[in-house]
């Protein structure tokens, strides 16, 4: 990330006084935080390498207060950064140094659970897992399960279009959200989608979901609930080399099986996870696959049989299927703790999040191995293998500025390699500020200009979370790397009309 230019303290103080005066007219006093002690917890999100002190933090507790906050900020042309639980991994909730951070922490009400329609309507600050807990008495749950689900909020999930280990079968946030309500930057109430399966006009929900708080501030979300599977079982399969593990993943899919989860860990990640949770993983394997089936007992037993046959035929050196729920949870415990386990072996890590076509997996992992020597840093790999989403964890020590620089360059190299292999710089963590430079490589100047035009259609003054997601022309020129032409169209040099 490029350092932001320092801000003149006098300019900041004058601005802060004006904003506080405007906000004091519309919000109760305890909903406004401005001292350094109070605002420090809001300086970063889960991407803690990037920090910024917000001008003011507000914690509204009603739709009316959100609308009033936005109107006041709009009148003074003050940027607004909406924030959920702050668990994001790309700096999407990084404060604006001259802006207001709008926390939705008080929006924690479960408005309604409708077991007949299989929907739940909840406020944006409700935690992901709390939705499933509220639906559990009806035998239902909310399917997307990002690894931070005990802490992250549904509003944040909507902002990031979060995935999770089950999204190959159950879809991303977008596929499980029916509608959202909120406000545009000028404080006007707006609704996208509905409780029906579609809404009139253009379908703008896919723009809102994953827009990282740049198009609207969402205060209420209606989600789809699905029946809790009667049974789930998981297979662990070991492979002697990465290539056969990658081929096994393709073979499972090609056999017409959509596993409930299909995860890969490389040898070093397996060792780190095993040391942390003692799940009984095979430490000899070059890679292990976790392959899950869920449904009725009949369906699961049939599918586990088919999965086992495919994995064996693909050269698995060891296969074990969970016999009960306790064993299944044990199989998953290492994978679910991969990030904290990595935190235990290194002072810091950068978690990358690119997606590649699955067939390029072995090639990608070999490239990463080469990069380890180029940048002089170690990297362990976990992979949502079913949908091609890779999470290399680059290990470094942030206390050493040179290591941070090398880690960032290592990360950018992984992202740009992913684009060259036909993939994308972010599968589920978002662009935020972390991947702005890499966006220059993925999108052409015309595409980036179109993104800005989309933003202005919702937010003409560009006040909502400005500076995130879309890099400016100037920034891309400074970064200096070429856009990788991704389209299959044959005339990249055609004259434009």
């Amino acid at each position: 990330m490029n350092p932001t230019p320092p801000i003149d303290p006098h300019v900041r103080a004058r601005r802060q006084a004006a904003v506080l005066a405007a906000l004091a007219r519309v919000l109760p006093r305890d909903a406004i935080l401005a001292s350094r002690e109070e605002t420090t917890p809001y300086e970063c999100d889960g991407m803690s390498a990037y920090r910024e002190s917000p001008l003011v933090v507000v914690l509204p507790s009603s739709d009316a207060e959100v609308a009033a906050t936005l109107k006041a900020c709009h009148a003074h042309r003050v940027p607004v950064v909406a924030r959920g639980a702050g668990t994001g991994l790309s700096g999407g909730a990084l404060p604006h140094p001259l802006g207001v951070t709008l926390s939705l922490a008080k929006f924690t009400r479960i408005v309604a659970v409708d077991p007949e329609a299989c929907t739940a309507t909840v406020q944006a600050g409700v935690r992901n897992l709390a939705i499933s807990e509220a639906a559990a008495p009806f035998g239902l749950y909310y399917a997307p399960d990002p690894s931070s689900q005990i802490a992250c909020t549904i509003g944040g999930n909507v902002a990031e279009n979060s995935g999770g280990v089950h999204c190959l079968k159950y879809g991303l946030t977008l596929h499980n959200v029916l509608g959202v309500r909120g406000f545009t930057a000028d404080g006007a109430a707006v609704e996208f989608g509905s409780s029906a399966l579609d809404a009139a006009g253009l379908d703008l929900l896919p723009l809102i979901v994953g827009s990282e708080g740049m198009l609207a501030v969402i205060t209420e979300v209606t989600v789809k609930l699905v029946p809790k599977p009667i049974l789930a079982r998981c297979i662990i399969a070991s492979f002697a080399d990465i290539e056969s593990a990658g081929r096994a993943v393709a073979n499972v899919i090609a056999a017409g099986i959509i596993p409930a989860g299909l995860e890969l860990m490389d040898r070093r990640m397996t060792a780190v996870a095993e040391n942390y949770v003692h799940a009984g993983y095979d430490l000899e394997a070059a890679a292990i696959l976790l392959c899950e089936s869920d449904g009725t007992a009949l369906e699961v037993d049939e599918e586990i049989g088919r999965m086992t046959a495919v994995l064996e035929a693909s050269g698995a050196t060891r296969i074990a299927a969970s016999r009960d729920e306790a064993e299944r949870l044990k199989f998953w415990s290492g994978r679910k703790n991969a990030f904290p386990a990595s935190g235990g072996i290194s002072p810091d890590y950068l978690c990358m999040d690119s997606t590649i076509p699955r067939r390029r997996l072995a090639e990608m992992l070999l490239s990463i191995q080469a990069m380890e020597s180029t940048y002089g840093l170690a990297c362990v790999n976990v992979f949502h293998a079913g949908d091609g989403n890779l999470h290399p964890l680059i290990l470094f020590d942030a206390a050493d500025a040179d290591q941070l620089r090398r880690a960032e360059e290592f990360g950018a190299d992984i992202l740009e390699t992913s684009v060259r292999l036909g993939g994308t710089i972010s599968g589920e963590h978002g662009v935020g500020v972390e991947k702005l430079n890499s966006s220059c490589v993925q999108f052409s100047p015309a595409e980036r200009a179109q993104f800005f035009a989309v933003k202005r259609a919702f937010d003409p003054e560009e006040l909502l979370n400005p500076g995130k997601v879309i890099p400016t022309l100037a920034r891309c020129a400074e970064y200096g790397k070429m856009h990788v032409h991704r389209g299959l169209l044959p005339f990249p040099d055609l004259p434009r009309y």
């Binding site: 077991p115 007949e116 329609a117 299989c118 990031e160 279009n161 879809g171 991303l172 977008l174 109430a189 707006v190 609704e191 996208f192 509905s194 029906a196 809404a199 009139a200 253009l202 379908d203 703008l204 896919p206 723009l207 979901v209 994953g210 198009l215 029946p227 073979n251 090609a254 017409g256 009725t296 009949l298 369906e299 049939e302 997606t355 590649i356 076509p357 994308t424 972010s426 599968g427 589920e428 978002g430 966006s439 993925q442 595409e447 179109q450 993104f451 989309v454 202005r456 259609a457 919702f458 003409p460 997601v469 991704r486 389209g487 299959l488 169209l489 044959p490 005339f491 434009r496 009309y497």
Partner: protein, 369 residues
């Protein structure tokens, strides 16, 4: 010497670029056309036809990646045939109102068939698209991978955009394995009983992929693993429909083959119209007279009758949904439900952002732009 397929496609692309360039220069509206099978839907098409039928062909298909990429003019039947040959399919069962529909038209119309409630919509399966928009620029959004959150998700907004955001040149779609087994059961009952039964279905572990109620019969389609389908059939304890008859029934429903969906000229002249009401699945509607066909476990109600458009629209809105006027002699009430002012402002600005010259299918979604 025969030109290679790629050269032929490139020539087709150049013709599209030329036509759009001319239209921009003259500010001449274009009617973007694939197979020309959906002209009856939405507001009436107008403008000089921009034919995309020549821009055809499957560009890339990797069954083990669950992704297919095809040019906009590729016939839908050709795409679905290629998928079936590899044991895969489009999960959302796109309608074919007439032979000749294309992949681009399928995405632009954004319509999904009987499987929608269980499997998701065409929008859910769009992974990426290359479009010609703005000031004649070719732009690619999304990609060929299942998980992708880089930039705004522009490709999915194209689903149901009716061409007002530009010309779709190429799309990438997620595909799914074909179902190993399928069975359709019939229960004779009235509409109220059918809806009551459907409400309790969501929690059953049945592999229900479609439901429909029409003229005193509730149709339930189970599809998936053989064992699961057999078990659901035993549990449901209802009469099974012969497989060929079942396939014909669901295809007829998907494609509006039945005369219910295609009122004759005389009926239209009497003031009858066909409406599509999209509602929360469990919502109740007041008695509107006429006749209905219920799909999507209650979330889609096709309604045919002579009630006034304002009455239908008000009933749909009160139930939490919206109503589309599909077939009528008079569509002056607007094909699509009117939008709240705050949402319409965003629509207008978005359309201007993608089509500053106002040449792509103007008036096809809402009159006036």
């Amino acid at each position: 010497m025969e030109p290679r397929d790629a050269d032929r496609r490139d020539a087709a692309l150049l013709r599209v670029l030329d036509a759009v360039g001319e239209a921009r220069a003259r500010r001449d509206p274009l009617e973007i056309r694939g197979g020309g099978t959906k002209g009856f839907y939405g507001e009436a098409p107008r403008g000089r036809p921009l034919e995309l039928g020549g821009l055809a062909g499957i560009v890339n298909y990797e069954p083990s990646e669950l992704v297919v990429t095809a040019r906009a003019g590729t016939p839908l039947a050709e795409l679905e045939g290629a998928l079936a040959a590899r044991g895969q399919m489009l999960a959302f069962e796109p309608p074919r109102f007439a032979p000749g529909g294309t992949v681009g038209g399928m995405v632009a119309a954004g319509l999904s068939g009987p499987a929608r409630a269980a499997s998701g919509s065409v929008r859910d399966y769009v992974l990426g698209a290359t479009i010609l928009a703005g000031r004649g620029e070719i732009m690619t959004f999304g990609g060929q991978v299942i998980k992708n959150v880089a930039g705004y998700d522009v490709s999915r907004v194209l689903a149901g955009s009716w061409g007002v955001l530009g010309v779709i040149l190429e799309v990438s779609l997620k595909v799914v394995p074909s179902r190993a087994a399928t069975a359709t059961l019939i229960i004779d009952c009235g509409a109220d009983e059918a809806r009551a039964r459907l409400k309790s279905l969501g929690k059953r572990p049945w592999p229900l992929t479609a439901s429909a109620w029409f003229r005193g019969r509730l149709y339930l389609r189970f599809a998936g693993a053989r064992a699961a389908v057999d078990l659901a059939c035993r549990d449901a304890n209802a009469a099974a429909l012969d497989p060929d008859a079942a396939a014909a029934w669901w295809a007829g429903l998907r494609d509006h083959g039945h005369e219910f969906f295609r009122p004759e000229a005389a009926a239209l002249a009497r003031g009858e119209s066909l409406w599509r009401l999209s509602l929360p699945a469990t919502a109740d509607l007041p008695d509107l007279g006429g006749e209905q066909c219920i799909e999507w476990n209650g979330a889609l109600r096709w309604w045919r009758g002579g009630a006034a458009p304002e009455k239908i629209r008000a009933a749909a809105a009160a139930a939490g949904g919206h109503a589309t006027l599909v077939r009528a002699a008079d569509k002056s009430a607007g094909a699509f439900a009117p939008l709240p002012a705050s949402l319409m402002r965003i629509h207008r600005r978005l359309q201007e952002a993608f089509d500053p010259d106002g040449i792509f299918n103007p008036g096809r979604l809402y009159a006036g732009w």
